[in-house]
């Protein structure tokens, strides 16, 4: 849709209230025992298993993809009674040049490859190069593209420029899904986060995503709350469902629970599916696997006994 500033300019976000909401929710909802195990299994389905490091290699990516195919040790799957469900992560997320390795390693698994693009993580390269990067990654087999927005546009409230840019990237993605990384740690204010979320959705983003993982502050629950409320409002007005991806700094299984709970409370059950919710994380899977092993054995687990990702 074209830019519609009315959808966000009269929508202030009160930070203390947002912080109170997430703080209170921590005490209002929890999942225990078998339900906790199920919610953790679900978190695996929602995971964009990620490596975004300067020292990534084909070998590193292959190992990650193997873990993506088999995120839990077979014995744990068996004890959980889910060996038949074909559990995999939601996607594998890599830098563009790693896409071919990932595509190769995931062949036949049905697991999509997501590629960051557009001069990740800062995006400060010319637009035509950013668009070319998207097209290249898609050509290599990436089915999801995680773009970064130009923070300058948001900070200067140049919403039209931001809209045009994301729109162009959306077009460049072709059949691939576009996830718009807002880099909320750079935007700082919740008003900016809400506005940037709305502009990205109006420009055609399939997902909005908190962070590159490289900012000072990455995914937090309050900022996620603000983005979820933007999703809800956008859906209410347009009828389109846009997905949400918190990313960065999420390392623990209990964080996977808290984000799912927040999503369910703010948006409902149907948002707890991989087409609408993803976690951008790398080490969180290891903690989930340990917790699930504890669930089935009653003994606390050690990660060195699980397959590394």
């Amino acid at each position: 849709m074209p830019l519609d500033v009315a959808m966000f300019e009269c929508h202030p976000v009160n930070r203390p209230a947002a912080e109170r909401r997430v703080a209170a929710l921590a005490g209002r909802r929890t999942v225990k025992k078998l339900h906790q195990a199920a919610w953790l299994v679900n978190a695996i389905r929602l995971m964009d298993l990620t490596t975004l490091s300067g020292d990534d290699t084909a070998g590193r990516v292959h190992r990650l993809c193997a873990k993506a195919r088999q995120p839990l040790a077979p014995r744990i799957m068996q004890d959980l009674g889910i060996e038949q469900m074909g559990l995999t992560v939601g996607a594998v997320c890599v830098y563009p040049t790693m896409v071919p390795h990932a595509v190769e390693a995931l062949q036949g698994s049905g697991i999509p490859v997501a590629s960051v693009a557009t001069g990740f993580p800062t995006g400060l390269i010319p637009l035509h190069l950013r668009l070319a990067e998207i097209e290249w990654a898609v050509a290599q087999g990436a089915r999801e593209i995680d773009i970064v927005i130009t923070r300058e546009h948001a900070l200067r409230q140049n919403w039209q420029a931001l809209h045009d840019e994301v729109r162009a990237m959306r077009d460049a993605c072709g059949p691939a899904h576009l996830k718009a990384i807002l880099a909320t740690g750079d935007l700082k204010t919740f008003d900016n986060v809400y506005a940037a979320s709305m502009v990205a959705m109006q420009a055609g983003a399939d997902f909005i995503k908190t962070s590159t993982g490289k900012e000072d502050v990455n995914a937090t629950l309050p900022v996620s709350l603000v983005m979820m409320r933007a999703l809800r409002r956008y859906g209410g007005v347009t009828g389109h469902r846009v997905g949400f991806k918190p990313a960065g700094s999420m390392k623990q299984a209990k964080e996977a629970l808290r984000w799912q709970i927040l999503m369910k409370e703010e948006l409902g059950r149907s948002w707890l599916e991989p087409d609408l919710l993803r976690f951008g994380a790398s080490s969180m899977l290891g903690d989930i696997e340990r917790q699930l092993e504890h669930h089935v054995t009653g003994r606390y687990a050690a990660s060195h006994r699980h397959a590394a990702s």
Binding site: P16, A17, R20, H35, G81
Partner: protein, 783 residues
């Protein structure tokens, strides 16, 4: 149940809090609890059942307190009080600190027990009630330590009788006991009959923490037990939290007894949402306001007022949010709304809602399980006259109506006889503070609600009671300044007939009443003789109830005065002093004719002029405070005038007594209706000429002469009067205090003749505190 099945629905599943330890404690007391008197539990007496409202099962039996039990408890408190007050502040602080620590260490036990006893969710007892209890004792350990420095002229009342409600059983206990003990009082406290168990557990904690016997005494029982405590002859101060109805009964019951009283009563607090609010945040605010503690919250935002511009969007968001609330087992960690405290209360909620529906209200409800539960309920199409708009429901029921302008929002917000709290939602600080200043409430939350902290005062305006709990102002409710005491009788009836005697050679002067800036004749058309040292000193108007009515109306119209700056009011007060000084000789002559010796008359006039200057000086200096509460919150404690204040002057010092009471009242922004000295009103009626020439706005000071106690009774019974100062006879004190119960106006009573108006007792900050009430405004911030 399998993981695959759970994945389908992604339900939360059960998350029960283990109650085995508390159950064991209850089992150990299955023969029933006695009272806690003088540091030990008495043998159980006549027992009654305490139910877990969620299950309907009896979980304990407690003793119905008799008057003999109350006697024993008061006796123990009295015996302990001297030694307790004599402890150094530091020693009392150590005791309160120990209580705080022990509460913390038993926090989960108390949280589980409270949930079982009251029906409120474990989430709230664990995350809100019990932490606030510990915080309250810590905070007041601090006050105990420094009270002698901070309140140098004050002393404890003595023995406090305290009666608390069932909605926050342990927290209300903490609010009552912590400040009382910090100030050096001892207490006899009655927990609510529905919810006595955490109080009994607290008694065990008192013993465990080494509190001296008799400092805290608990007597369980019903309203009769409470009445026995409140009415006990050896109680010095009464503190009650509960319904406005019972508060009024207590006010009448102890009228004239000399007992100090603070009341924290009901509310029907507005929740005002402006178009520029963060609506999602405001919706969550409603959850925290009325769907907190089953809506059994005196300060609950029970009337949503939303700007028409965003009303439909807000309503849709609110309905969606309501659907996500979980009502049920209080000990489940995912429960938002637990059980209603008792079937009687459930029935009351149902009856009120049914009545509202019969009046046309439309219900929107979530779901609730069978049993003593009530679903979260939003009510629309509700008018201001509806029972759902006027009555405190004490259930999870909130009304929603709209306003067009900020002016209308304030009008609707204040359209209630209560004044406990208000919540204001807007991102415009200009608007928020404007509304906060206009709304009649003791607590105003900006962009938040039900935020509580021991460091800030909590308490109401209007029929929500008087006195504050928490913070400096809360400590003041448990301290007294040694004041004058005495006995005084009634005044003789007035003779409004001719024949009082000639008044001398000067041109005859007619003293009139002074109402709304005008000299007016009394409605009665009668005058009474004023007798001086040498016979008649003149005639004064015989005011009656209609004159009082007119004066109160005039005072009520003088609304600009409260909004004037302290500097403006100071200028007027200085001007009063200046003009009085210019006519000092004339006032001295008047006082001489009324019976004063020349030197005394001169001294009284001079003192009156000095008093003008002293209160002029205070007019812009009697500051409020910024309380230390939570991080990233500004909590403003603002002194506000009561509104229209009635003042009944002492008979002696006819000029100085009048000035000493009127000036502090108007310096703080009140407008006043004054009954001057009945036998000697003419100095006060002379004073209206000073008022007329000193730029005092019309209606700020109104003077009605006549029969003191008859006029005082009209003032005391007038719902437009917010406070009444009465200096008079003992029977008049009892009458004024009893009559004041009608709208729970604040009273300050004193026996005529007890105070030396010429001396230091004739002025001071005490007068300014009495002339003001504290409004705490909470402003969280952060971008």
């Amino acid at each position: 149940m399998s993981i695959q099945m759970i994945l389908k629905h992604m339900d939360y599943g059960p998350a029960p809090e283990d109650s085995a330890i508390v159950q064991g404690w209850l089992d150990a007391h299955e023969t029933g609890f006695g009272h806690y008197i003088d540091g030990v539990f008495t043998a159980p007496g006549t027992l009654f059942d305490v139910q877990n409202p969620a299950s309907g099962e009896s979980i304990a039996q407690v003793t119905q307190g008799t008057s003999a039990d109350v006697d024993a408890a008061v006796k123990a408190a009295r015996q302990a009080q001297g030694a307790w007050a004599k402890l150094s502040g530091h020693e009392r602080a150590r005791h309160l600190y120990a209580l705080a620590r022990h509460v913390q260490q038993h926090s989960r036990f108390l949280a589980v027990l409270e949930s079982m006893d009251n029906g409120k969710p474990i989430r709230e007892t664990r995350d809100i009630d019990v932490p606030l209890v510990a915080r309250h004792f810590y905070h007041h350990a601090g006050w105990a330590e420094i009270a002698a420095d901070e309140f140098p002229d004050a002393e404890p009342h003595g023995v406090c009788g305290q009666v608390i409600p069932w909605n926050f059983p342990l927290l209300m206990l903490a609010w009552k006991i912590a400040p009382a003990l910090a100030a050096g009082n001892t207490v006899v406290l009655k927990p609510a009959e529905y919810t006595p168990l955490t109080a009994l557990a607290f008694a065990e904690i008192c013993t465990e923490a080494g509190l001296p016997p008799g400092v805290v005494n608990l007597v369980t029982g019903d309203g009769a037990t409470g009445a026995a405590i409140v009415g006990h002859g050896d109680i010095d101060k009464v503190a009650f939290t509960g319904s406005t109805g019972v508060g009024k009964t207590i006010r009448r019951q102890i009228a004239g007894s000399g007992k100090a009283l603070t009341l924290e009563l009901g509310g029907k607090s507005p929740f005002v949402v402006f178009a520029d609010a963060d609506l999602d945040a405001a919706v969550e605010g409603v959850v925290e306001a009325i769907w907190f503690n089953q809506g059994e919250v005196c300060c609950a935002g029970a009337r949503i007022l939303v700007a028409e511009a965003v009303a439909s969007r807000f309503e849709a968001l609110l309905k969606a949010r309501m659907k996500a609330l979980r009502v049920g087992e209080p000990l489940d960690k995912c429960t938002d709304i637990g059980a209603i405290v008792h079937p009687v209360q459930l029935e009351r909620i149902r009856a009120l809602v049914a009545e509202g529906v019969a009046q046309g209200a439309i219900l929107h409800q979530g779901s609730a399980p069978e049993g003593c539960f009530y679903p979260p309920t939003l009510v629309t199409n509700v008018q201001t006259a509806s029972v759902l708009s006027t009555e405190e429901i004490f259930g999870p029921v909130v009304t929603l109506s709209t306003f067009r302008t900020p002016t209308e929002a304030v009008e609707l917000a204040n359209n209630t006889r209560y004044g406990l709290a208000a919540s204001v939602w807007s991102e415009n600080v200009n608007l928020c503070l404007d509304i906060a200043s206009q709304v009649k409430a003791g607590v105003v939350w900006i962009n938040c609600t039900n935020v509580l902290d021991a460091g800030a005062g909590f308490g109401g305006y209007r029929e929500s009671g008087f006195g504050r709990e928490g913070g400096r102002e809360g400590m003041m409710a448990y301290l007294r300044r040694p004041g004058p005491t005495g006995e005084a009788g009634d005044l003789p009836a007035l003779q409004p007939t001719p024949g009082g005697g000639a008044t001398g050679d000067a041109i005859d002067r007619t003293a009139k009443l002074f109402v709304g800036g005008q000299q007016v004749r009394p409605d009665s058309g009668y005058a009474y003789a004023v007798m001086g040292a040498k016979g008649s000193a003149g005639l004064a108007g015989l005011g009656n109830r209609k004159d009082i009515r007119n004066a109160v109306e005039a005072a009520g119209r003088a609304t600009g005065w409260a909004g004037a700056t302290g500097h403006n009011r100071a200028q007027v007060l200085y001007y009063l002093g200046e003009n009085m000084s210019a006519r000092a000789a004339e006032f001295a002559v008047r006082l001489e004719r009324l019976g004063a010796k020349p030197a005394a008359a001169k001294a009284e006039v001079e003192a009156a002029v000095r008093r003008c200057f002293w209160y002029a000086a205070q007019a812009d200096k009697f500051d409020g405070a910024v309380h230390q509460t939570k991080s990233a919150h500004v909590t403003l404690a603002m002194h506000e005038p009561l509104g229209v204040l009635g003042i009944v002057c002492p008979t002696e010092a006819p000029l100085l007594g009048f000035v000493s009471l009127v000036l502090p009242a108007i310096a703080m922004g009140n407008s006043v209706v004054v009954i001057p000295s009945q036998p000697h009103p003419l100095a006060a009626t002379d004073f209206y000429q000073i008022i007329e020439t000193s730029d005092v706005p019309a209606g700020v000071v109104n003077i009605v002469t006549g029969p003191r106690d008859e006029l005082a009774k009209t003032l005391a019974g007038h719902d437009g009067i917010a406070g009444l100062w009465y200096v008079g006879g003992c029977s008049g004190i009892a009458m004024v205090e009893a009559e004041s119960a009608g709208n729970l106006k604040q009273t300050w009573t004193e026996a005529d003749g007890a105070r030396d108006w010429m001396g230091a007792a004739g002025q001071g900050r005490e007068f300014l505190h009495r002339a003001t009430q504290v409004k705490n405004i909470w402003v969280p911030y952060g971008v």
